[in-house]
């Protein structure tokens, strides 16, 4: 019978149906970081359990890592304590830890794929909602809470109900200056931030099929912002080419056999989806959020809505967002002054993101009133970018070039907004207070658009930034 990738992978990992009707799902890869795991390890200790599959468990430190001064002990004593707690837990349980000295440290959703740990057909868990990123490889990847981290550590299993599957077909060609970030922001804007609840999102269509793995990761990463815990793309030659020769990927003949299996997992053309939505890629423009949830966005040449412009159920939300942001209904998005520019996060801090942003900043300088920083997604990304000279381009343009981590996406380290600052950010959430100042304001956009905003000092259409002759 024709099946979706979701059904195939789910069925392969289903151990049994639990008394309450949930499925006991075997977990192929468990990724761990310092923020959501310490309480889980403590409970394991209290109950006398061990880590069931340390060989399928990998850890890194990302959320609280300072990106400017990384010498130990960290100046923030809590950050130091959380790091040493993770080090102790990994040592006690035999879990490989990609820490700062390893040279392989980075945001957990960046290093899993770049190490080849993330593979098609796996079930993947991490105590982090952006675990959906790994779905870009045709894996089923679930963000989980700390009690479930405990479950997975102890049993290598997850108790979970199967969601429905919605295929989102993106057809046609994206215009110049339009990126994967714009595609996912548009999907969230059109379907809404609640639409994905109870669903896994399968991203398909020729526009998705032409995307690189980095771009697919950006799309899958923000599934959760659309309410979907799981998002995935069917594996294809682009996926396999990315994985070949990665450290933890199968090698030689095993890779060939793996590739055949991976290919067989893709959704069958005549499979049945619970829902199908189609988007015209050509209708998507550079997109910017103006409000306090990721669904509140307009194209850069658009204007902010009034409460009366939206569905009745969304009116209070629009009014609350306009008030919090200090914006007026009807004001144009372009021209909104910014104070901070942040290029980073598990959404958009991979090498291709930094390349696109560097193309925009080359030959320009950050506006005098803007502080701008680039935080690579991993040490590996940083090294590759430095090898290409991207760090120099950013530095010469007035950006800070930092060490890898989650940084100002959620401000658990010293990188944060102050007061009412407005931040053009390549991250994933514009919630009130998200970037560290309770009254700070976040505008989500693609890394290229952040770069353009940094230079202009205000939200600006990346398609209109002049390319200096020296670079052109």
């Amino acid at each position: 019978m024709a099946q979706t990738l979701f059904q195939k992978v789910w069925d392969l990992h289903a151990v049994r149906t639990l008394p309450n009707g949930q499925t006991q799902l075997y977990v192929g890869l468990h990724l761990v970081h310092e923020v959501t795991s310490p309480q889980a390890f403590d409970e394991l200790r209290t109950r006398g359990w061990t880590v069931r599959a340390p060989e399928r468990t990998f850890a890194t430190v990302d959320h609280i890592v300072p990106t400017a001064r990384q010498a130990r002990p960290f100046l923030d004593l809590m950050a130091e304590s959380m790091t040493s707690s993770l080090e102790r837990n990994c040592r006690d349980h035999g879990i490989p830890l990609f820490d700062l000295p390893s040279g392989l440290q980075g945001i957990v959703h960046v290093i899993g794929p770049e190490l080849g740990l993330t593979q098609p057909g796996m079930t993947i868990c991490c105590g982090d909602s952006h675990t959906s990123t790994h779905g870009a490889f045709g894996a089923l990847a679930f963000g989980i809470g700390t009690s479930q981290v405990r479950d997975v550590l102890a049993s290598q299993c997850l108790a979970v109900m199967p969601p429905k599957v919605r295929r989102i077909d993106v057809r046609g060609t994206l215009g110049p200056g339009v990126y994967a970030k714009d595609v996912i922001l548009t999907i969230i804007g059109r379907l809404g931030v609640k639409a994905g609840s109870g669903y896994a999102y399968e991203y398909a269509g020729d526009a998705i099929e032409r995307m690189s793995m980095d771009e697919r990761m950006t799309i899958c990463n923000m599934s959760i912002e659309g309410g979907a815990r799981v998002g995935y793309v069917n594996p294809d030659d682009t996926t396999f080419a990315y994985l070949e020769n990665r450290r933890f990927a199968p090698a030689g003949d095993a890779f060939t056999r793996a590739r055949d299996w991976w290919r067989s997992l893709a959704s069958d053309p005549d499979a049945t989806w619970d829902d199908v939505v189609t988007l015209d890629a050509a209708s998507i423009g550079p997109t910017v959020t103006w409000g306090i949830n990721p669904g509140q966005s307009v194209t850069v040449d658009g204007r902010l809505p009034a409460p009366g412009d939206v569905a009745p159920a969304d009116r209070d939300g629009v009014a609350e967002a306009l008030e919090f942001m200090g914006f007026a209904a009807g004001q144009p998005m372009a021209g909104t002054k910014i104070d901070v520019a942040f290029i980073g996060s598990c959404t958009n801090a991979r090498l291709s993101d930094l390349r696109e942003a560097a193309k925009v900043v080359a030959g320009h300088h950050v506006a005098p009133h803007v502080r701008a920083l680039v935080v690579p997604g991993s040490q590996t990304v940083a090294k590759a970018a430095e090898h290409e000279g991207l760090d120099e381009i950013f530095r010469q343009a007035g950006f800070d070039w930092r060490g890898a981590g989650c940084s100002m996406c959620l401000a658990m380290n010293p990188d944060r907004l102050e007061g009412r600052e407005v931040c053009a950010s390549s991250s994933n959430r514009n919630f009130k207070g998200r970037q560290g100042s309770p009254t700070g304001r976040t505008l989500l956009m693609s890394p290229a658009m952040v770069a353009a905003a940094a230079i202009a000092g205000e939200v600006t259409d990346v398609r209109q930034v002049p390319v200096p002759e020296a670079v052109a």
């Binding site: 151990v15 949930q22 006991q24 075997y26 359990w49 959320h63 912002e225 959620l410 959430r429």
Partner: protein, 202 residues
């Protein structure tokens, strides 16, 4: 560890109006810098409370004297969206909340809540509006959440409030802490893993 059965919760109710209240608002990330969940209850909605307090005559429901000691929380749609941090339901529980009734819940938040024994029930918008109005006009009103019977009552109100069968069963049987179940019949787990090409070897 055996967990207790959760069939009924009763008490006064605190109300938070508005859709899409995310977990960054429930517990801002700076309070996640800890290796235990202790003390989170003091910081639940910290920034929203500060924001409300800055308004003239403003007070956040979690600071309003009339709602201190409330055990129930009434919310609107998509409550708990965003970050998967279990710190969010942990903070609510440690503040004293024992059950939440809302229009809808974000998936990960819902699961995290059930896993720590915090039932989340879904009520129709018009029923929820009535519950909220009663709790607002009479903060002393006592409501009863019947998890097993899937109803919420208070004053003259008695409305349907549903919870998915799996979550209900976990709570009413006291099996909401799943780890023990997942460790039972472990030979089936081993067999499942052994069938996976990436475990068995390509």
């Amino acid at each position: 560890m055996s967990a207790s059965k959760i069939t009924h919760v009763s008490g006064r109710a605190i109300i938070l109006r508005g859709d899409d209240i995310d977990t960054d608002r429930i517990i801002p990330a700076r309070f996640l810098k800890a290796i235990t969940f202790e003390g989170l209850g003091d910081h639940v909605f910290e920034d929203d409370r500060l924001e409300a307090g800055r308004r003239i005559g403003g007070v956040h429901p979690f600071d309003a004297p009339a709602y201190q000691g409330a055990q129930l929380l009434f919310v609107n749609a998509n409550f708990g969206c965003g970050s998967s941090r279990e710190h969010a339901p942990q903070a609510l529980m440690r503040w004293g909340i024992r059950a939440i009734v809302g229009q809808s819940f974000a998936e990960i938040f819902f699961g995290n809540s059930v896993m720590i024994g915090l039932p989340c029930l879904t009520a129709a918008p018009e029923d929820l509006a009535q519950l909220m109005d009663l709790a607002q006009s009479d903060p002393a009103a006592v409501f009863s959440v019947d998890v097993a019977g899937e109803r919420v009552s208070g004053g003259s109100l008695d409305v349907s409030a549903t919870i998915p069968a799996s979550a209900k069963q976990s709570l009413v049987t006291g099996e909401w802490d799943a780890t023990g179940l997942l460790l039972e019949r472990y030979e089936e787990v081993t067999a499942t893993a052994a069938r996976l090409p990436y475990i068995a070897g390509f």
